[in-house]
């Protein structure tokens, strides 16, 4: 039998329906691949027994030609989603050993549709990071390797992006058919770009946030990472939907996103924002962007230069809004009701010791910034001002869309993936700049899709980003597939990880 982990999610689904193999066989192939790939450190917890039990139940349904849209398909779940009875850590020491007594809405939707859970995927601590190096459970290693100037493959450990680094690396290395992820400033799209995978952050409100460990509640959105645009469309349809338990969840029917994959993009108007052409943009990123423009034009789209004048304020404003909301959300980790507790001489000492030891460096730093900008006398100068700037950023997009633009094409990241330890060790802002192209989308609440589009000179994948109108993810899937069809196939190096 061919290696079942080489299939796309759509191929695996069709194979199960055609009874070419069983879910137990498909699941076992993935369990074995996960077990061999420990050095990538993608999974914090593996759940093979649970996976096989679910697969068996799926096979019984499939045998009767029953079952949901994801029946019998093994997935990885980012360890930010609460899973009933299975440890959920958010990549933090403070939640080590925490076993939720409830299931997040998005994962509930996946199990409703028949998906199989392989385990919980590693991430930056509380989803704060762009390289998966802030995880308490150790960094994730990308299956990709860099090619030196001499053409030789270097064994330097490449980061998979972050915060959804376990998700992106596991999908790229065929350790699951697809994965859940979350995106607050680029945490789905930047890892997808770094690993040659497809990731979509849907419109804010499209997926319920209930049961997902909160980082910055006005920015957080759930979405999938997969190996093809079609697979991402299939996953999003199951993940999305209204939920009474999330008051910001959007109450409208979920379209069959897969139907928009392959639809014509003729006549679609694509905006090219001139403000994204940053000073010092690398030549290969600029060339990739131009190439994307050419592909969409060849597919019949109309290309139009647009202006989004407040773009450059998005990242600084993000670094007020996100830490402010994080400092509030993370106040709940106090050592009283769950998670780590360090004893102290009194209750305040217990809190301070628990939080100092339980949170990693980056998380402590962001809580401190957030506490400062929300403290008495500073709220108006920082948080309120940043929220007003969000209105201006969103207005830029609104004007472009009102003028007839259907979607916007930009680079996904300012550089290809880097090696562990290369960025942000002396200045945290250096790492933050990774999100310069993705963060505007969260600030405005819009949907954004990243699709692989080429390779860097050092042999690493590069992605392009499509930004859509609110709740028009379908347009992004159509355009994303057009780029996927036109782009050279991204071929992962031979497995060196087992």
């Amino acid at each position: 039998m061919t290696d079942l982990t080489r299939l796309t999610l759509a191929q695996a689904r069709d194979g199960l329906k055609a009874k070419s193999f069983t879910s137990v066989e498909l699941t076992q192939a993935h369990i074995d691949a996960v077990a061999r790939a420990k050095q990538l450190n993608c999974y914090i917890v593996e759940t093979p027994e649970k996976a096989l039990a679910q697969a068996k139940a799926s096979d019984a349904k499939l045998a009767k030609a029953e079952g949901g849209a994801l029946e019998g398909l093994p997935l990885g779940i980012k360890d930010l989603y609460c899973t009933e009875g299975v440890q959920t850590t958010a990549g933090s020491h403070i939640l080590e050993g925490f076993v939720p007594q409830y299931e997040s809405t998005v994962t509930t939707n996946l199990w409703r549709d028949g998906a199989v859970m392989l385990g919980k995927l590693n991430l930056d601590e509380f989803a704060m990071g762009s390289s998966n190096e802030t995880s308490y459970f150790g960094p994730v290693v990308s299956p990709w390797r860099r090619k030196g100037a001499d053409g030789k493959i270097s064994d330097a450990k490449i980061v998979p992006g972050g915060s959804s680094g376990g998700s992106s690396a596991a999908v790229a290395a065929h350790l699951c058919l697809g994965a859940t992820a979350t995106d607050t400033g680029g945490s789905i799209r930047q890892p997808a770009a770094f690993t040659g995978t497809v990731g979509i952050k849907p419109t804010y409100g499209r997926c319920s946030r209930w049961g997902i460990v909160a980082f910055a509640s006005s920015l957080d959105q759930a979405g999938p990472i997969a190996r093809t645009v079609r697979d991402a469309a299939i996953l999003l349809r199951s993940m999305a939907g209204h939920d009474a338990k999330d008051t910001t969840s959007f109450d409208a029917p979920v379209p069959d996103y897969e139907k928009s994959v392959g639809a014509s993009v003729k006549g679609k108007v694509i905006g090219i924002p001139k403000e994204y052409r940053l000073d010092g943009m690398s030549a290969e990123i600029a060339a990739l962007w131009d190439q994307g423009v050419a592909w969409l034009r060849a597919a019949g789209a109309e290309i139009r230069e647009i202006s989004l004048p407040h773009t450059r304020h998005a990242l600084p404003a993000y670094y007020i809004v996100a830490p402010a909301e994080a400092s509030s959300n993370l106040a709940r980790y106090d050592g009283i009701r769950y998670g780590l507790r360090k004893t102290g001489k009194d209750i305040a000492d217990l809190y301070e010791k628990t939080r100092a030891e339980g949170f990693g460096k980056e998380v402590r730093r962001r809580i401190m910034i957030g506490t400062y900008v929300l403290s008495a006398g500073y709220y108006d100068a920082y948080y309120l001002r940043a929220q007003k700037i969000r209105t201006l950023i969103k207005r830029d997009f609104d004007l472009a869309y009102a003028a007839g633009v259907d979607a916007i094409l930009t680079p996904a990241t300012p550089s290809p993936a880097f090696a562990q330890g290369e960025k942000g060790s002396s200045d945290p802002v250096e790492m933050y700049l990774n999100d310069v192209f993705t963060v505007t989308v969260n600030m405005a609440g819009l949907p954004g899709l990243v699709v692989p589009a080429g390779m860097s000179s050092d042999g690493l994948p590069l992605g392009l980003q499509l930004i859509g109108r609110p709740f028009e993810e379908e347009t992004l899937f159509s355009l994303g597939e057009a780029i996927e069809q036109a782009a050279p196939k991204i071929v992962l190096p031979e497995s060196w990880w087992g």
Binding site: D251, A317, G344, T371, P470
Partner: protein, 95 residues
């Protein structure tokens, strides 16, 4: 705007995170790097601009104020670091 060491200690206390004497100067530098990075926002004219509250205009749904959940003491306490007789145990709070 930049913060001094005393402010770093005050923020740490507000955030209930203990910071050692060794750590404080590093943290001060890092916080100042971030505050320096966001300083440019002062140049943006936000006169008359409303703060953003939602992507699409949307009314928050309301529901009847009634009990929908409860009687799950075991679940609530399942992850407690210390528990006794159906309660969380904490250090003495009132002298």
């Amino acid at each position: 705007m930049s913060v001094d060491l005393a402010t770093v200690r005050r923020i740490a206390h507000l955030a209930r995170i203990s910071v050692s004497a060794d750590e404080a100067p590093h943290l001060q530098n890092e916080l100042n790097a971030i505050l320096g990075f966001v300083e440019e926002l002062n140049s943006v004219d936000v006169e008359g601009v409303e703060p953003m509250t939602s992507v699409l205009p949307m009314r928050m749904k309301k529901r009847a104020d009634e009990i929908t959940d409860g009687d799950i003491v075991e679940k609530v306490l399942a992850n407690a670091p210390a528990r006794e007789d159906g309660f969380f145990v904490v250090p003495k709070v009132i002298e």
